[in-house]
């Protein structure tokens, strides 16, 4: 079974370890570290850009796992000094305690999100006193400083927060024909006869649609697909023919005949 990651980005090493151990429902003895590394690399690619912090966290956790596993594989446990054995247990207890703490706060933050979501359904009254009372306040500008005016203005001019900030707009648009070819090679074999509109259904950028089209032409040139079009501006239909000659431009390891 290939190791697949659901989606959310791992937030911390302990968290990741916990995630791996509880979610995978396997004990460390059985985990193939190679699979985990592969799975993680795949996740990184999905994220379209290297999250250095997440990557170093992952390295840390991989090292911890490796060390734990190596210890177990070592023969001659009977010869282990009592001190060393105790130290190992102590180390394990510390790690366990931190994992549990980390998990506890993660779940607590989930509860806070639910509270916020519920509270978001109500809006407070913020109207303040109406004009009838505006003459009362002796000093309406009390506490208003030039600095506060600037802060207020900057807050107004700041980009409105998005529900979820993705960094896709910062990372360069992924629009290499080579990548698109690789994507199509993954997608097409199982798809049967499929329309181009369907193939680009999830693609929003115009550039990306063009690149997908170029990739299709590339595959056509290599004889890997057949293209049909009923007439001018008619629907373009794509049929997967097979793997002939596609290896040349595609990452071979991702390709499943």
């Amino acid at each position: 079974m290939p190791y697949t990651v659901s989606t959310p980005v791992f937030e911390g090493p302990f968290d990741l370890l916990l995630h791996l151990i509880t979610r995978q429902q396997v004990d460390l003895w059985e985990i193939s570290l190679a699979d985990i590394v592969d799975g993680y690399v795949a996740t990184l690619e999905e994220m379209r850009g290297l999250d250095l912090e997440a990557a170093t966290e992952f390295l840390l956790i991989a090292a911890v796992l490796l060390e734990l596993k190596a210890r177990r594989l070592l023969p001659g446990r009977d010869d282990v000094e009592l001190d060393e054995e105790l130290a190992l247990w102590e180390e394990r207890d510390l790690l366990l305690a931190r994992l549990l703490e980390c998990k506890t706060f993660k779940d607590a933050s989930g509860a806070m999100v639910r509270l916020m979501d519920a509270a978001d359904l109500a809006w407070p009254r913020t109207a303040g006193p109406d004009d009838r009372f505006s003459g009362l306040a002796p000093d309406l500008l009390a506490g208003v400083t030039p600095g506060r005016l600037r802060d207020t203005m900057e807050a107004l001019l700041a980009p409105r927060p998005l529900a979820r900030v993705l960094l896709d707009h910062v990372a360069p648009v992924r629009a290499s024909v080579r990548d698109a070819v690789a994507d199509l090679i993954e997608e097409l074999p199982g798809a049967g006869r499929v329309s181009f509109a369907r193939l680009t259904a999830g693609v929003t950028g115009r550039l990306e649609i063009i690149v997908r089209f170029l990739a299709l032409l590339e595959l056509y040139k290599r004889g890997a697909v057949d293209l049909e079009q009923a007439g001018t501006f008619g629907e373009l239909r794509v049929l997967w023919l097979g793997a002939v000659g596609v290896e040349a431009g595609a990452p071979a390891e991702e390709y499943q005949g």
């Binding site: 250095l52 009254r125 109207a127 303040g128 505006s134 500008l141 203005m153 107004l156 001019l157």
Partner: protein, 194 residues
Amino acid sequence: MASEAHRALEAILMVADQPVVPALLAQLLEVPPARVEELCGELAGAYRDDDRGFELVRVAGGYRFQSHPDLAPYVERFVLEGQNARLSAAALETLAIVAYKQPVSRAQVAAIRGVNADGVIRTLRARGYITEVGHDPGPGQATLYGTTPLLLERLGLDRIEDLPPLAQFVPGPEIMDALEQSLRPGREPPAAGE
């Protein structure tokens, strides 16, 4: 009596910070404007019958909740003693926009704030913090507003140009967070707009 439409009106008017015109209410509720007038009339009547401390009134072309005139003495004390003896958030925003963008029209203020600012502009004018400074030469000849010497004096500024400069690009905190999360190589976060 408390239909969905009545309740929706109450909810909207409760969060509005100035009178809401019936046309907008009608659009939000998907009923004719005449029906909005009826519904508001019924609500106002109910509050009267229940002897509430607030009322729903039609003022400046729209509807709003306000405190009942009977209770003005309490409200006055609250305004004087309470935390409310200061500019509301809406007024502060409007003042900041006029200060930095003058000369500026109501429509421009509303565009930046995302909500209509007429009531607040009236208050600020009444207090002498902003004033009419001219008219837009374009069609409609919208009134343009600017700040007054009184405001400068109260802010302790010599000239309006002495306002602190705005940062050129002010990313929201979540954008900073996301950037830091993905760009930070070590423990040193990028030095950017605090």
